[in-house]
Symmetry: C2
Subunit: 224 residues, 2 copies
DNA sequence: CACCGTACTATACACTGTACGTTAGGAGCA
DNA sequence: TGCTCCTAACGTACAGTGTATAGTACGGTG
């Protein structure tokens, strides 16, 4: 039987199954077939195992989601240490965005669940450390962290969502026609700016534009 | 049979069923039981009708989601016309946030689908009009609109999600213990700022903090 | 009245997550 | 070695889901 080790029960796998293997297989399936098409039965089948075998390692589907999310967060690089703090903040935000773009399922994994897990905490630690080192007080650092995080999350999720929509020709066609059916009298600005709106939905420039707005506002509050 | 009227086919309802009634019933169910527990069979049952009856008015579940979203967007007030443009922008963002808080399902309805529908266009028109009137060029207005929208969406969605988590005692307890199990040596800032982080997750002050950062950055780019 | 389009029904299918009870095989001890 | 416990994994089953397909009955129009 498994011995307790540092207070944690190390289960004795009898077969090739393990929590880490399940997480990696789940991640593969999410990236191959999309987060929506992901199912416990799918990953169990991929592992050649009954659906209920997964419940030995995860208490339910959400628990597996959390594990996959934390696994992905572990791929984030460390904060560059030799740079002015605005550049450090920019680097953290950009690398989170990049990770979300490389693993689109991360957007949905981050959206619906609270943050937990060691890797996730490590990321928060990096950003909070930069802000504290820059001299911001506790409350401002926490507020800024939340603001930056929700901006990156919202902005990049939106970008991923729109990119997916653009790939579906049927949905994209319906979106175009519904856009073009708007009367130029009732919606002058929307109709006039339609090309710009389409062009500014996503992309590095759009992301940096918003990030620069936030950082510019933040630098006005730079402590001493 | 129904006659075509202004190019739109007006179907002849035989019973009390109608697209608007379905949307209102769906909205009621979403707010009562949560967006996740919502189902087509649920709203059909509420209306005393078979599940397939809804497919006469909506092509699928997502189509119904879009209709509910646009219905909610129609509740947004018009932009105040007699105010400096930063106050107008603030008002638009705040009223969208308020609507999302009053109707938590709106967060999920906005997150997963592209924007379409007349009421949604009306909201975009309001914000874009303010930005154009303030003198911003087309590209900057579009970029700013996208930035503000994604900030409001991400920030308020996060707030709603965390508030829901806090109401579930089981999930909340697990979150607390996972937070407290973090070593103060590995995560000094997270542990030190834990109370601030908990306090700054949501609330008007947190929202306004980020919004003010954005607006401060934007005012640095005010045209002439 | 006859007819036809259509609002709605009934049935069915392929799925989902997961609760419950069972089986089989490794580990520890007599 | 043989006994016992623990537990990883299995099998079955259930209550749901969205929706494809075929059928039914009713209202407006000829």
């Amino acid at each position: 039987m498994g011995h307790t080790w540092l207070g944690l029960m190390a289960r004795t796998p009898r077969n090739t199954l393990s929590a880490d293997l399940i997480v990696r297989t789940a991640l593969e399936l999410m990236e191959a077939k999309g987060t929506d098409a992901f199912s416990l039965r799918g990953v169990a089948g991929e592992l050649g195992v009954g659906p209920m075998a997964l419940y030995t390692y995860f208490r339910n589907k959400d628990d597996l989601y959390d594990a996959v999310r934390d696994h992905l967060m572990g791929l984030l690089p460390a904060v560059p240490s030799d740079a002015p703090w605005p550049d450090q903040v920019r680097a953290v935000c950009r690398s989170l965005r990049l990770l979300m773009l490389q693993h689109p399922c991360l957007a949905q994994l981050l959206a619906g669940r609270p943050l937990s897990g060691h890797e996730t905490a490590r990321v928060a630690e990096g950003l909070l450390g930069v802000l504290r080192a820059a001299g911001f007080d506790a409350e401002t650092a926490a507020r800024t962290h939340t603001t930056l995080f929700t901006y990156v999350l919202g902005s990049t999720s939106w970008e991923i969502q729109m990119a997916a929509e653009r790939r579906d020709p049927e949905a994209w066609r319906r979106l175009r026609t519904s856009m073009e059916s708007l009367s130029a009298r009732d919606f002058p600005s929307v109709v006039e700016l339609a090309p710009e709106l389409a062009r500014t939905t996503g992309g590095d420039e759009q992301f940096d534009y918003g990030l620069d707005l936030l950082l510019a506002g933040l630098q006005l509050r730079t402590p001493s």
